[in-house]
Point group: C2
Chain length 428, copies 2
């Protein structure tokens, strides 16, 4: 399901309903760049703290433009005949259930204003990263024009508090700067004339948002006056105290709605975190740090604090690249641990009737088969995870006990190349 | 004329032929952002050196994605009846000649590799800048997929020298790092075996560009062996000294062609600089610094050195925003000095038969009328310049002497807001 701001609400509802039922979630992201210079690239001689610092720098410099999240749910019992099967197995005759996949491809773009509140975001990008995306048919117009916005909880709360204080305060808080003293004096004269007049409303022209802020604040100290934005003008109007209370309540409602809309994709990540499901990725360190930093909260300075916070955010992480690198014989057999290369090979070889993988019927229409579209990559990562575990003893729920033994050896070990170390074991 | 890499060669020829005949050139750019934080924004209290430092920082942080260049040429004599006239004047009966405009809209995107040489570019972008472009129907896919590359003269020369040294040297220059000692030993063994064998060619697999560089360098010390890139392999082949000399000459030719192609849009700016024409912009300081930094050479650290270099690069600059702000009564009459607002008003009021403005016939097809498309903004800037000078005494060549007096008061004074200063007078 390709998700833009046009169908985000529907997708969010679908995601919310499905995530709690899912058994695990696969994730993948497309970014605007990786490392600014050669010196900032990961290096086998890094300590774990140095590596964290390099990854943090990458994540804070570059943007996320597409997030693939694929929910995998084990469905017990017979598969109906004639239904589409994503794996290449025959599909007839098995009774052991199947894996149902729901791949979401979220296009995300940070909005620069939330109900009139400026929230400009600065990102870096590398020409090579954009060229890589172009080679994979990425639609840059869809990203900018239709991307789902996002706003982290703590930023949303900060904005809400600031605006609530302005909406409910009856005190003048802002001292106009020197350049605006004349503006304030002129406005106060006009306001006094308006109050003494029989007029019910006054339109006052402003040149910028700072002037509008000044006016809102001056008027807020009068409990029988209200303000309404009117483009470059502000309208000041008279009313009883109860009218003004209703007017303020309406503004608060609008504010809350604006902030809810602005949170956008962060609501998906909140649901994912709350669901406590295993999250599977391929070479997922950067994806995990981006998910934390862009959609949850700022990255801590220190690595140990990050690990503690991560275990609260996404408690179970599984990296298919680590599995491939550490499962006996697998890398030798396929000659690669790159997802592009190994995922199609695993798909072709997956002829067993045990635990086939199929797309949920809502997700078959327009299903992408483009590698490096984040939704498809997330699907292929989750599917490869299932197929890798089949190599290592099967992953149907029937064999749950042995699966758990298999799985435990892969939990929270993220692929890494530092000296001889093959993974970063996240402390929990 | 909308220019992408698909029609760049044709556009460059057209530009080259027309620029020397033109009387002045108008310029405008679209960028990926302006200022990273509020503190880095221009401020009325800046000194000129501080302002230069802020502008330099902006230019070095953000990218240019579209450059509009519009050539204006005075054509003597009668206009033919029935031809299209861009200005709203009647167009009948005048005999005093007209201004012919050739607007080019160059979409530019920095290539990350030049004939196999990595040249990755890092830029910042602001979400607000991309949203601004989206509101003006900017095509981000055209930018990334079809943008004309660019490479400054000094970068091109550095790359050429490095590659020429590698192509013509017969000395081993590169000491393999520790990780590649085994690779070099294995390759040398294979090479010795190949030399002693009757084989004419050897294909050798490599994992990365560093390994390929090592092989090219090792083989270069043999004057009867040559190398050819073959994807991830390298082919080493035998031949006489004269065959190898021809092979090297061919490689040099290819290198020069690759570098010429990579220079791309910089060739347009070279022609513009060499033509010594007045360059007109609107609030043009950032455009001038971007033109210098992206397409000419890196910005000097100090403002005075920049001014000296600028007077060599583009000796005559004219800022229509400065003209509007300083021409008696003009800003009061129109109530604005913003190009979006004033350019259409000047166009509507330009009913005089004196010096009408028309598009050259090659440039009428698909001519954009979209404000904030750089080519159209450049056209509107140049047209506004002509119309402003008409207000100030006419700008037909017939009245050249008085025009020069009018013009001189505007040359190299760029609009600026610092305290009471209205412009930055570039020293020449």
């Amino acid at each position: 399901m390709d998700v833009t701001k046009d169908n985000f609400e529907k997708a969010l509802k679908e995601f919310e309903a499905a995530v709690t039922q899912s058994d695990f979630v696969a994730m993948d992201m497309e970014m605007t760049g990786l490392y600014e210079t050669k010196e900032l690239q990961p290096n086998r001689l890094d300590t774990l703290d140095e590596r964290y610092a390099k990854l943090k720098r990458s994540v804070e410099l570059y943007g996320v433009i597409q997030v693939g999240v694929c929910l995998f749910t084990w469905v017990e019992g017979c598969r109906q005949e004639g239904e589409e099967v994503a794996a290449t197995d025959g599909g007839a005759g098995d009774t052991g259930g199947y894996w149902e996949a729901r791949p979401f491809n979220f296009n995300v773009f940070p909005s620069s204003s939330i109900g009139g509140i400026a929230m400009d975001t600065h990102f870096g990008f590398k020409s090579s990263a954009f060229e890589f995306l172009a080679r994979n048919a990425f639609d840059f117009n869809k990203w900018v024009y239709q991307g789902v916005p996002y706003l982290r909880t703590e930023d949303a709360e900060r904005i809400r508090k600031e605006r609530m204080a302005m909406l409910t305060s009856r005190q003048r808080k802002i001292d106009a700067d020197d350049r605006h003293r004349d503006f304030v004096r002129d406005f106060e004269l006009a306001l006094d004339t308006f109050i003494d007049s029989g007029e019910q409303a006054l339109r006052y022209e402003t040149e910028n948002s700072y002037q509008r802020k000044l006016i809102h604040n001056i008027v807020s100290s009068h409990d029988t006056l209200g303000t309404r934005g009117r483009g470059d003008c502000i309208e000041i109007f008279k009313g009883s105290r109860s009218t003004m209370a209703k007017h303020t309540a309406h503004k608060i409602k609008t504010l809350n709605q604006n902030i809810k809309n602005a949170r956008g994709f962060c609501a998906v990540i909140d649901l994912l975190s709350a669901a406590r499901k295993p999250v599977v990725g391929h070479n997922m360190l950067l994806d995990v740090l981006h998910a934390f930093s862009k959609f949850h909260r700022p990255l801590p300075v220190g690595r140990e604090e990050f690990e503690r916070a991560l275990s609260q955010f996404l408690p179970v992480l599984i990296d298919t690249k680590f599995i491939i690198e550490s499962m006996p014989g697998v890398k030798d057999r396929y000659g690669t641990s790159s997802l592009d290369e190994i995922a199609p090979m695993l798909e072709r070889e997956d002829s067993s009737d045990l635990a086939p993988i199929r797309l949920h019927s809502l997700f078959t229409r327009n299903a992408s088969r483009t590698m490096h579209e984040a939704g498809y990559d997330a699907y292929m990562t989750g599917a490869s995870f299932i197929r890798l575990l089949k190599l290592d003893g099967g992953v149907g729920r029937a064999a749950e006990q042995s699966n758990e033994l298999v799985l435990y050896s892969y939990i929270n070990k993220l692929h890494l190349s530092i000296g001889e170390a093959k993974f970063w074991h996240i402390a929990t």
